[in-house]
Chain length 262, copies 2
């Protein structure tokens, strides 16, 4: 086994913690962090630019052989004490498997849109767990791509964790300027649908989703801004029988993606 790092002042350990907690640091270094065996395995499988693998002593014994079979030519590996692992972990029962990963070049809407594609637009989403779950569901249902606009940082550890590895498989673009977003979707020939809870919107069950489609989902608490909903080709509603506040944003997005992908 390699030298075991025990000091919390170790530069790699300190960098990991900085990248964990700060978007600014992530942008500055162009790196984000991963935690957990499965997501690190997924990243290695998808050749996602892991620059640094960090294993606790225990994880090295348990998963080392398996993990070190991957192509690690561009990856440094260090082993840290189990205590240090507990310190840098953001979960209650850490597996002791951590990594730093290069943030890929940010894709524009035009980079990921194709004719006939089905897209989910996350407009002003702030809950990392929700955003991750939506990306994960988009992957499962075969959605062509996810576009993030004014939403939380895709590379925050909570978003990454909640995607369960789908972040490495999905086509994801970021466009924070609403003007540019609508222009790019127009260029792509997309019909835009705003998911709203207004009674006068078109029930999803009456909508055709043929051709290129982009469905806008709004903020968890406030939904889509009225001016954004009005700019879309149509406003659609998931008919609800019970309490209208009961469908959370991720679940609404899931049902809409299901209708898109059928």
């Amino acid at each position: 086994m390699e030298n075991i790092i025990t000091s919390k002042d170790n530069p790699t350990v300190k960098l990991y913690q900085k990248l964990s907690s700060s978007k600014k640091e992530r942008l500055q270094y162009g790196l984000f962090v991963l935690e957990g065996l499965r997501i690190v395995e997924d990243a290695l499988k998808e050749e996602s630019g892991i620059t640094q693998l960090i294993l606790t002593e225990k994880a090295y014994e348990r998963y080392g052989e398996e993990l070190l079979q991957a192509d690690l030519r561009n990856t440094r590996t260090i082993v840290i004490s189990n205590e240090l692992g507990n310190r840098i972990s953001s979960t209650d029962s850490p597996q002791g498997v951590f990594a730093m990963c290069r943030i890929p070049v940010q894709r524009k809407v035009s980079d990921i849109t194709v004719s006939g594609g089905k897209y989910l637009v996350l407009f002003g989403l702030q809950d990392p767990g929700n955003v991750g779950m939506m990306i994960r569901t988009a992957d499962a249902l075969g959605i062509s791509g996810v576009i993030m606009s004014g939403s939380c940082d895709l590379y925050s550890p909570k978003v990454i964790r909640s995607t369960m590895g789908s972040v490495f498989r999905m086509k994801i673009a970021v466009e924070n300027d609403a003007e540019m977003l609508f222009e790019a979707l127009k260029q792509a020939g997309a019909v835009t649908s705003a998911a709203v809870i207004d009674k006068d919107a078109v029930p999803v069950t009456d909508c055709s989703f043929e051709g290129t489609q982009a469905v806008f989902i709004g903020n968890e608490g406030n939904g889509l801004p009225a001016e954004i909903a009005q700019r879309c080709s149509r406003r659609v509603i998931i008919p609800m029988h019970g309490n209208i506040n009961s469908l959370n944003a991720a679940m609404a997005a899931g049902i809409l993606m299901w209708e898109l992908s059928k």
Copy 2:
């Protein structure tokens, strides 16, 4: 304002904490806890047997007038210090509104089933957040009732919080004996569908959900036990295009409930 309780040894405060952390204590006292303004308001609105309202000083000033307008004839109210509120809260930014609530008489499957009803059976679900989200979605989509079998405690604080008040509106039955469960669903004339991820199951898109229907969802990690899936009238699958592990149990349940309720 009433006397402000500052001691962590106050019997009500101690009872609240016991009920928060232990199913055994909840069963013994027949009580469960609520935290948060909205869910406490929901419980008051639905006359859900709140026996004790606990407000921090700050919450008393802020929400007291509003909350104390409810029918509180059978409810004691105490005011505690803000510090004590932080201590008993299970959230990072506590609103300071807590309550204890009587656990209702447990309903049997036959108590909640009607001809033509649509039911969700949670079989072996263990993640409280998932269970709460499913109950919340069932409420939104107008599902007739939820049946819990071998799943986590409905009255754990995390489940209750994740239901966002839907726990007071949904018809929920508990039947932990699989034999009794199938017998009761047979008596109700229900077609039973097992949600699985086996390629040879019937795609949901090819299923009719007319008449009385019960859809079984299995454990987050392991799915439904094979013998339970085989006992159902049919095995159904949500066709997935991407990574088959990407649809989590709550999202799968949401899509199935959507199809049930359409």
